[in-house]
Amino acid sequence: MIGGIDTLLEGMLLGGVYALFAVGLSLIFGIMRLVNLAHGDIIVLGAYLILTAMAAVGVSLGVATLLTVVAMFLAGFALQRLVLERVLGEDILPPLLVTFGLSIVLQNGLLLIFGADSRRLQAGAFEATSINLAPGLSIGLAPLIALLTAIVVVALLQLLFYRTLLGRAFRATADNPEIAQLMGIDQRNIYAFAVGLSLAVSAIAAVTFGIRSNFDPSIGPARLLYAFEAVIIGGLGSLWGTLAGGIVLGLAQTIGGRIDPEWQILSGHLAFLIVLILRPHGLFPAGRR
């Protein structure tokens, strides 16, 4: 009984990390209809940036994360204005190829600079702290904060999208970029802001992930796969759906892993396939309000 609850809690907490992976991907796809194949590597880049800020500059994990969020936002803005903008158009293949290339560049660049050793972000005592819920049932503080962070990030993005002028401009541009220009919306800045936001969220994903598990330059594509699955399970275009998708994926992996450790990853993929068969539009497809 306790074991069962423990597994469910564990799965949900893992889902928080996956949701954070997925939100950045979902953002860019939702607004620009662009699939960013470098998304996983961008998360890994974020983790290395935080690591570097802590080691080289000597700041705490919190400050390093904050710096990285800002740096990644600016990098995303520049990435769109200097690179992606040139290939966006009617044809969806060129931007796909460019992000694929970016993925390879990032992996090899990180390998060159940091080597192939696996690293981990050190969160000090915080990392080992856990909360006792019942005798024999406790949850780690760090994973709990990761899930809460995912919820807060989704809630803030939801506010941005549905309560602000910028959010309306995002949605209008997603609906019809040409007509959005007629409203005085400069599409180039809107897209650049969207990519910046996606990378900033990826930096937040990076810190929760880097505390939880080891990372090395080669693991990006697998994170991209989890992010994809979470987005599709949740339903394209819905941020709360993406959060739910992450949690479903986390639960499936944890339950599978409890049955047999070798099944952990496989059961995540199986859950994805089952959702795809039963509900091809995901659990919470974007309701055109």
Binding site: L165, A169, I179, L182, R289
Partner: protein
């Protein structure tokens, strides 16, 4: 009096296809000008050129004395030329009110046109402010499209086929708002398939045929045969 909009020898292209040939057009402050012509005559291209969706030679279009022929659409609406696009093209993810608000995205003035003013002209939109635009009737959608363009407080309102697909009685309702829009300081350019209606509501008109201006003038000064010849060719 200097013209508000001055189009001089405009050749407009879609890729290699030339849609307009040496078009000249003037719009005075407070005027309503109609552009008539058959399908494919270049009417919509002319409006899209004015709105910046089709980019042209820089000095082909002057607005308030500035060359805007090659300016991007987003900067043109900020200068005061707003387009009501053909087929309405509302944003389906936005509610009625959000569609109107996005129209005022780049507007700093907030007057005379704001949410209240638009709702006063189209009261039915106030009742449906939180509705999904896709469930509105065609006429109501057209009102949102016009209101959305007005929210930018334009000095020129460009209306592309605002009667398309609407019942005649609804079309008259919509045309009745044009004098009010002019009274609030905007000149109006209407593109219209229905020649009689266009001539009834305009001060001056231009007739296009296969990209050329074949006739222009005041409705009272031309006879029907001349319009027919300019419209269909002879």
């Amino acid at each position: 009096m200097t013209a508000l909009v001055n189009v001089h020898l405009l050749d407009a292209f879609y890729g290699d296809f030339q849609a307009l040939f040496g078009v000249c057009l003037e719009l005075q402050p407070g005027e309503t000008v109609a552009i008539i012509g058959a399908n494919g005559a270049g009417k919509s291209t002319l409006l899209k050129s004015l709105a910046g969706l089709v980019r042209n030679r820089r000095d082909a279009i002057k607005f308030n004395g500035d060359d805007i022929g090659d300016a991007p659409a987003a900067s043109i609406v900020r200068r005061g030329l707003a387009l009501v696009p053909e087929g309405r093209r509302l944003f389906p993810s936005l509610t009625v009110e959000e569609n109107l608000l996005i129209g005022g995205y780049g507007d700093k003035r907030g007057a005379p046109w704001n949410l209240k003013a638009v709702y006063d002209v189209f009261p039915v939109l106030r009742e449906r402010r939180n509705s999904d635009v896709t469930i509105l009737s065609g006429g109501q959608q057209q009102m949102v499209a016009i209101g959305r363009a007005l929210m930018s407080n334009p000095s020129v309102l460009l209306c592309d086929e605002i009667s398309l697909g609407l019942a005649p009685i609804v079309v008259e309702d919509i045309y009745r708002t044009l004098p009010l829009i002019r009274a609030n300081g905007a000149s109006v350019v209407i593109v219209e398939q229905d020649v009689a209606r266009a001539l009834r509501h305009c001060d001056r008109f231009y007739c296009l045929q296969e990209g050329w201006v074949t006739l222009s003038g005041r409705p009272s000064e031309v006879n029907q045969d001349a319009v027919r010849a300019a419209y269909f060719g002879s």
